[in-house]
């Protein structure tokens, strides 16, 4: 396997030190990939096992419907997040209109809202006895049967909910890509007579494709793995069926087989995108030398742009938060409770530590992909990132199995060697939690880091190397500053995701260790939404902190115009 990796003649340097460093990096990446893939394999092994016949039962009864629902969900969430994410990113990055500066960061806010929370918030707000319908009746003097009111508890409704909280993935990555695009290329397009819109459509958009694809892929994987929201909305998908099969029918093997089927489907999508992109280079065009002059929009266009960018913020953040605040005011948890402080602290520390670990790992894996490009490395990276698409509880059980196996082996070895067992070293420890996050969220970090690396032309490495810089020097002096935004983006995404993460945290955590997300879930699953609203609001409040930090960082970079080292 190592030979296959090293066989690629790329950026080769015959010096032994370089080869050793390269080999070490590849080895680390390979070990990481193995560690991350293990729980996924623990799930996939079910394919060769004998199930209790649940698959045949499902095929006879509900399979057609769940497949159609799942495809519909993907189509709607994919199209929705792509249109909103790319559209708003282009507007706030390349156009100027009143409020565009503020919208740059406000568009990220829905990221901090867990999907199931937005589902609860809308359900409560839009219910017959909820504030929206009550106000309508009071205002117009209607009674219940006098008017039609849209029902959001169906496939389009749940797709809308997921789109509203997932589009920021696409927005963030697309905006990053637009900011990094060379002004020269866009201006060349304009010089050749293209209108701003067609320059965007024909040059800017295709150049940002890896970033957009990475964003949409993240959104789709999360939508596929979602259980809480779709279940609450009464929509049956592949994931709800996996849960039913496992917990209801008690057929763990069949559930694993279904999960593996889901994985196979995701791998197929990823492969199609990858192959369609293969052979093209997206880094060409050099770096930009100054800030792109934004397009000043005329009043009518400006109003339209403002409305287009404000709407996702309004629907994805302001309205649900208002609904949560209303619930909190009615019957919320007490915030002064010292327990709450402990929950918040646990959440914050976990999310921070996980961001560090996951981004470091993602960077190593992405680097391995850069210095030894090839089908094998790419495949390893893709497979290692697949954990994100597996329904949370399923992958969490895979993680448990992997940790349990490791602990059992260590215990056995220790028994044999020292005559005393070690007990459980990793299961139920903080290390186990970080491992779980690595498996779940490597994809989240790998997306931005990889597309960031893609944007750095290989010619730059070659130039630096020609001038005598070592590979380490290239990484530290050229890549690191250029990657800073991508790394921060990755860290932010992981941080917020861990803050919201539930299935793995709840199943792997140590004794007496609760987080905000667990608090919210416990209350919500017990149908105490008003009490749950307080924790949800605190999650959102903490999630906003990194959003603001990142926004300031990007704003400063943009002001400076050029990048350090460029």
């Amino acid at each position: 396997m190592t030979d296959a990796l090293l066989g690629q003649p790329s950026l080769t340097d015959p010096r032994p030190a370089f080869m050793a460093g390269r080999r070490a990096l590849l080895a680390v990446a390979l070990v990481l990939a193995t560690v991350v893939i293990t729980p996924i394999l623990a799930v996939a092994i079910s394919v060769v096992q004998q199930s209790g016949g649940a698959i045949a039962h499902l095929a006879e009864t509900v399979l057609t419907e769940i497949v159609l629902n799942t495809l519909g969900l993907m189509l709607m969430v994919g199209a929705g997040t792509a249109v909103i994410g790319v559209g708003t990113a282009w507007l706030v990055t390349l156009c100027r209109f009143p409020g565009s500066r503020a919208l740059e960061w406000m568009l990220l806010l829905p990221l901090a809202v867990p999907a199931y929370i937005i589902g609860y918030a809308y359900t409560d707000a839009m219910a017959v006895a909820g504030p929206v319908q009550s106000s309508l009746r009071a205002f117009f003097g209607w009674s219940r049967s006098d008017y039609w009111f849209p029902d959001i508890h169906n496939l389009p409704g749940v797709s809308l909910m997921l789109t509203l909280v997932l589009y920021p993935y696409v927005y963030l990555l697309a905006r990053s890509a637009f900011l990094d695009q060379s002004t020269c290329v866009l201006e060349a397009a304009r010089t050749l007579g293209a209108s701003p819109l067609s320059a965007f459509l024909r040059v800017g958009l295709p150049m940002a494709r890896p970033a957009i694809a990475a964003g949409v892929a993240l959104a789709l994987m999360e939508a596929l793995a979602d259980f809480g929201t779709v279940q609450y909305f009464g929509v049956t998908t592949f994931t709800t069926t996996i849960y039913r099969t496992w917990f209801g029918l008690g057929d763990r093997v069949a559930a694993g087989q279904l999960a593996t089927g889901l994985l196979g489907f995701v791998l197929l999508l990823v492969a199609v995108e990858f192959l369609a992109r293969r052979g093209r280079r997206f880094g060409a065009g050099g770096r930009r030398h100054r800030t792109i002059a934004p397009l000043q929009l005329r009043p009518r266009a400006a109003a339209a742009a403002l409305a287009a960018c404000a709407l996702p913020v309004l629907l994805g953040f302001i309205l649900p938060i208002a609904a949560l605040l209303r619930l909190h005011a009615m019957d919320g948890d007490s915030l002064v409770n010292p327990r709450f402080l402990a929950y918040a602290q646990n959440s914050f520390v976990l999310a921070g530590a996980a961001a560090l670990v996951v981004v470091t790992a993602a960077t190593m894996v992405a680097y391995a992909g850069r210095i030894a490009p090839g089908l094998f490395t790419s495949a390893v990276i893709r497979v290692a990132s697949i954990g994100y698409a597996v329904p949370g509880t399923v992958i969490a059980v895979g993680i448990l199995t992997a940790l349990g196996g490791l602990d059992g082996a260590l215990d056995g070895w220790s028994q044999a060697t020292f005559g005393a067992g070690t007990g459980l070293l990793f299961s139920g420890s903080a290390v186990a939690l970080l491992y779980a996050y690595l498996v779940r969220f490597l994809a989240v970090a790998a997306g931005p880091v990889e597309s960031g690396l893609h944007q750095i032309p290989a010619s730059l490495d070659a130039a630096a190397r020609t001038l005598g810089a070592s590979a380490t020097k290239v990484a530290a002096a050229i890549h690191a500053p250029m990657l800073r935004r991508s790394l921060l983006t990755a860290a932010l995404l992981v941080f917020v995701d861990v803050l919201k993460e539930l299935p793995a945290t709840i199943i792997v955590r140590p004794f007496n260790f609760d987080t905000l997300a667990i608090r919210v879930y416990n209350l919500a699953s017990d149908e105490r939404l008003a009490q749950a609203s307080t924790g949800a609001l605190v999650i959102v409040a903490i999630g906003i902190v990194p959003v603001i930090i990142l926004t300031r960082m990007i704003a400063r970079d943009t002001r400076l115009g050029s990048r350090p080292g460029a």
């Binding site: 359900t123 219940r144 508890h153 039913r244 199995t401 349990g404 020292f418 955590r509 017990d526």
Partner: protein
Amino acid sequence: MLSSPTRRALLGGAALLVASPALLRAQTRTLNLYSSRHYDTDEALYNDFTRQSGFAINRVEAGPDQLLARMQSEGTNSPADVLITVDAGRIERASSLGLLQPFASQTLASRIPANLRDPDGNWYSFSTRARVFFVAKDKVAEGAIRTYEDLADPKWKGKVLTRSSTNIYSQSMTGAMLAAHGPEKTETWARGLVANLARQPRGGDTDQIRAAAAGEGDVAISNTYYFGRLALSQKPEDKAVVEKLRLVFPNQADRGTHLNVSAAGIARHAKNLDAAKAFLEYLSTPAAQRYFAWGNSEYPVVAGVEPPPQVAAWGTFKADPLNARVFARNNAEALKIMDRAGWK
């Protein structure tokens, strides 16, 4: 290269260092609880137990399925001493997966009715909740709906509200139906019920109750404690919901109303066996019964312990004496029937 004895000493030292937390844990007087109950009021109960017995309680609270998966993967080294679930299905599954051990306790056997414990002593119930109907007072006359079987009567077309068949309470109710009528009649019943639905199943029990109050249907199927919670709420909109509905205990003329349970058992590989036994017996004391039932508007299982006032207000009723193990074992078959009937 280090010599072999030195190396072994170093390795041994390292192993001891790493394992020391585990050793310390085993030496202190603790009880490790895996629980799918997560009511704030239970904390008073845990504190009371610690005060009385001196055992400190460590807790992991998660969904029952997650806890079972965790116990399975931890194997013989699992730190869990006691497992608590909020339904019969999951505790019975734990038992059938070999994750529990029998506990032959005279105290428990004398205090807890036979139908509310495992005949082999693997688990005991400590509170119950009834699966009942909440009907719209203004639309449903007294006595118009009396049984679970009535839910399939075409006269309720477009009137019945229920949560998803994915939910364990739906499965247990259908499991009890299966025990009473067998698979064919149960499937016909499930089809009839699905044909009567006011809307596709969604949300939780509280959502069904609210929908009935809002006029989306006439009959909501729900556990009692969700209604008890609304009855205690200070919110005007909750008070309005309670005002509009009437509780119906089904099947009072025959087998009685279906009960689900909150149950606990001792883990197969429990390390603190004394603590676990003490805890289970403690749960059957009047003080603990009150904490358990009052905290969540449930029914205590021990005779002579009063239910909370908001629950007592519904009056007494005849409960289905079917052993929880029976309908728990019927869950998977029940789900298949519901799938075939189109109960989402």
